[in-house]
């Protein structure tokens, strides 16, 4: 195994524990922020996903050794992330792009306030 020798691992132990604690703290912060119950959907999503991304970065970077991994893995992952983003963004964009009045997303009662104004 190229990147990890006995000594490397021993040195990293403190780092791993640190990441563990950071993850727990991150979870606590996320839940605490949730209790504020923002009115704005956008802010709720941003806060939740921002913290989630940091936690994900910690798990991927340190637990999964990505920080010390080689180009090959990065290349595979970057490609994947790009296509994942494309799938997400383009499908949602296609819905946003439907001309007004052509999407049917209403329940039985049309007097409801609608999320997503189509």
């Amino acid at each position: 195994m190229g990147a990890h020798t006995h000594d490397d691992v021993r040195k990293h132990l403190k780092l791993y524990i640190g990441v563990f604690l950071a993850l727990l703290v991150g979870t606590a912060i996320t839940v605490y922020a949730w209790t504020w119950h923002f009115e704005s959907v956008a802010i709720t999503i941003t806060v939740a996903l921002f913290i989630a991304c940091i936690k994900a970065f910690l798990v991927a970077g340190y637990f999964m050794h990505l920080m010390s991994e080689r180009k090959t893995i990065y290349a595979i992952l970057l490609t994947t992330v790009f296509f994942f983003a494309g799938l997400m963004y383009l499908t949602v964009w296609s819905r946003e792009e439907m001309p007004r009045g052509t999407t049917y997303s209403v329940g039985p009662n049309p007097s409801l306030p609608q999320l997503g104004t189509h």
Partner: protein, 619 residues
């Protein structure tokens, strides 16, 4: 050796220091050797190819002679499939002749023809069979990186295929909502039976997707890790590059379809409404569902796979054709670097063009334009590849053997297929052509005289390496000329049919929409073409008989090859004994040169294999 130790040794291939005599089951059925697995894939896929073709031949009967009983097999089919799927034809004299296809059966055959050809025949043959047989050899490896995963991959394919076949015989018959399985039809088509053909289709697809994913992981890891010393990326035969990109397409594009398949299965069995919209009315009554789902979601997820899938269908074929052209022109492929960058570009771009299958779903102009643009851009690397292959012929010393004939025909046939894709890629013209026979003609040109010709070329080309004998050149040429003629007779008229407005997936071949002096409709001559096309299809079927016979008879009676490298090829798979033993190479392989050193100026030899050391260059 005891039977019990056989199993122990098999489980630890890496531990084996010398060959053990394996039992029949371990050698041929549960083998982890990539060559055996490749042959397993090949035989199974060819059987499915024949089966899928037979389905279509029966459908063509219905299109040419609607309401007439299918000759020869009609009675048998009615007995096997039941009177729900087939009915009697009542002649003028009152006699009942069994064997008329119902519209439901036509739809089932149509859906299964597509599914079987794409997922059970072409992909396993082009990617898995040829890939397994050739790629490890061409990169100088002893086997695939994960031999046991390889075996499981084949078994998963086999199970998926069995489930698909079994679906014909369950109550309600096979899936009949198109190979694209669009919701809500896929969920409501057969509400009378819970475990219906659609459910079998979905479960079968899950096994097939698993098989492809495992295979893709194996191929990519093998190509990255197991290239022989000296085999740098830019010394790889183009076939390996093609398989590498194909594997990435399968790896990243299949999972969304797997997710969608699970969701559609839940719609069918668990009453969910992932793809079922609010207000859905089925058979006159509101459906008992929560609603809130989106039929378009299915389409997005399906085509996210569906488009890369068609590049999976064509790229291995392009790779094979490149190998055969280089070998039979006795000169290097023109533009190796362009080919490599183009195939990488195609792979990348293929993920962001999918909604050109959805132009008629009501998307706005901005996003339609986005997909139209990416679709136009992706045609560029495709043209580059075709151009490089064409230019490769210039100045070549061409040997017109059977593999070369099929490879040469591939070029213009794929050209026609590709060019006819352009009107479909532009959304304004697709408005007129979507879901017509024009589309059928377009994609069949690419896959049938395109990919399948490339696969035939590959079979004729690599057959000697596996069996030690040539297939008959004479019958090969008969097979070629007849297939070329009839392929074109089948699909060329369909362009006209499509432009005249003949829609696809109509069990009566469009008779309901026939025009006449008083009624506006499809020109009767266009409809009559159905008969010509059907006859061409049946003759195409008969033309495959020489191939099938040639394939089997040559194993025993074919002309023996004079050396391990009968075609005089440079790539590594020809530098092995015939057939290659377990472990492939008899001595360690080191690569010293590129893949196409044919007729190199200054070299004494006509060709130099890749593993030939430097010092023999000036012999």
């Amino acid at each position: 050796m005891e039977a019990s130790t056989h199993a122990a040794h098999l489980h630890d291939v890496h531990e084996a220091h010398h060959e053990h005599e394996l039992s029949f089951w371990q050698k041929y059925i549960f083998s982890t050797d990539h060559k055996v697995i490749g042959i397993q894939y090949g035989i199974t896929a060819l059987l499915f190819l024949l089966f899928g073709f037979s389905l279509m031949m029966m459908m063509r009967w219905q299109l040419a002679y609607p309401g007439h009983a299918i000759p020869v097999v009609g009675g048998l089919l009615q007995k096997a499939l039941g009177t729900e799927m087939m009915t009697d034809q009542i002649l003028e004299n009152g006699v009942k002749v069994p064997g008329v296809m119902t519209a439901d059966l036509y739809n089932a055959f149509g859906a299964m023809h597509g599914t079987i050809m794409v997922f059970l025949a072409i992909v396993p043959l082009a990617f898995a069979a040829f890939g397994n047989l050739v790629v490890p050899l061409q990169i100088g490896a002893v086997d695939m990186a994960f031999p046991r995963v390889n075996m499981v991959s084949y078994q998963s394919y086999f199970i998926g295929g069995t489930i698909m076949l079994a679906s014909f015989f369950i109550p309600g018959g096979a899936a009949k909502s198109g190979w694209t399985s669009y919701s809500p039809l896929a969920t409501v088509a057969d509400l009378g039976h819970t475990f219906n053909g659609q459910t079998f289709w979905i479960i079968g697809m899950v096994f097939l997707i698993t098989s492809s994913l495992l295979g893709a992981v194996n191929f990519i890891a093998t190509i990255i890790q197991l290239r022989a010393p000296g085999m740098t990326w830019m010394r790889l035969p183009f076939f390996v590059w093609a398989q590498f990109v194909t594997a990435f397409l399968l790896l990243l594009a299949f999972p969304p379809l797997e997710a969608a398949a699970v969701m559609q299965l839940m719609d069918n069995l668990a009453g969910t409404s992932f793809f079922l919209p609010s207000g859905l009315i089925v058979s006159g009554a509101p459906a008992n569902i929560s609603g809130g789902g989106s039929p378009l979601l299915w389409q997005h997820l399906f085509w996210f796979l569906g488009h890369p899938e068609v590049y999976v269908l064509i790229l291995p074929g392009m790779g094979m054709v490149a190998e055969i052209i280089a070998n039979n022109t006795r000169k290097p492929i023109w533009g190796y670097k362009s080919l490599v960058y183009s195939v990488l570009a195609i792979g990348f771009l293929s993920f962001i063009v999918w909604a050109h299958h959805m132009y008629l779903t009501g998307m706005g102009t901005k996003i339609s334009t986005f997909f139209q643009t990416t679709t136009m851009i992706i045609s560029i690397p495709s043209v580059i590849i075709l151009t490089c292959l064409f230019i490769s012929l210039w100045g070549g010393s061409i040997r017109f053997n059977t593999p070369m004939l099929f490879s040469l025909a591939f070029l213009p046939m794929f050209g026609i297929g590709g060019l006819t894709g352009l009107p479909l890629g532009f959304n304004f013209s697709d408005l007129h052509l979507h879901d017509t026979y024009y589309v059928i003609a377009h994609f069949h040109y690419v896959v049938a005289p395109g990919t399948i010709f490339a696969l035939f070329a590959g079979i004729y080309y690599w057959y000697p390496k596996i069996t030690g004998r040539f297939m008959s050149e004479y019958w090969g040429k008969v097979h070629f000329w007849l297939s070329l003629l009839f392929m074109n007779l089948v699909f060329q008229p369909m362009f006209a049919q499509g432009m005249a407005g003949l829609n696809r997936r109509m069990a009566d071949g469009g008779a309901t929409y026939a025009g006449s002096d008083t009624v506006v409709g499809i020109d009767p001559s266009i409809l009559h073409t159905n008969v010509h096309i059907s006859w061409a299809a049946w003759l195409l079927g008969i033309s495959q008989i020489p191939f099938i016979l040639n394939f089997f008879i040559s194993m025993a009676k074919g002309r023996k090859i004079p050396s391990d490298n009968p075609w005089g090829a440079t790539t590594l798979e020809w530098q092995t004994p015939t057939p290659p033993p377990h472990g492939n190479f008899t001595k360690p392989i080191e690569v010293h040169r590129g893949p196409y050193e044919y007729s190199v100026p200054g070299h004494a030899a006509d060709f130099t294999p890749q593993n030939e050391p430097e010092r023999l260059k000036h012999a």
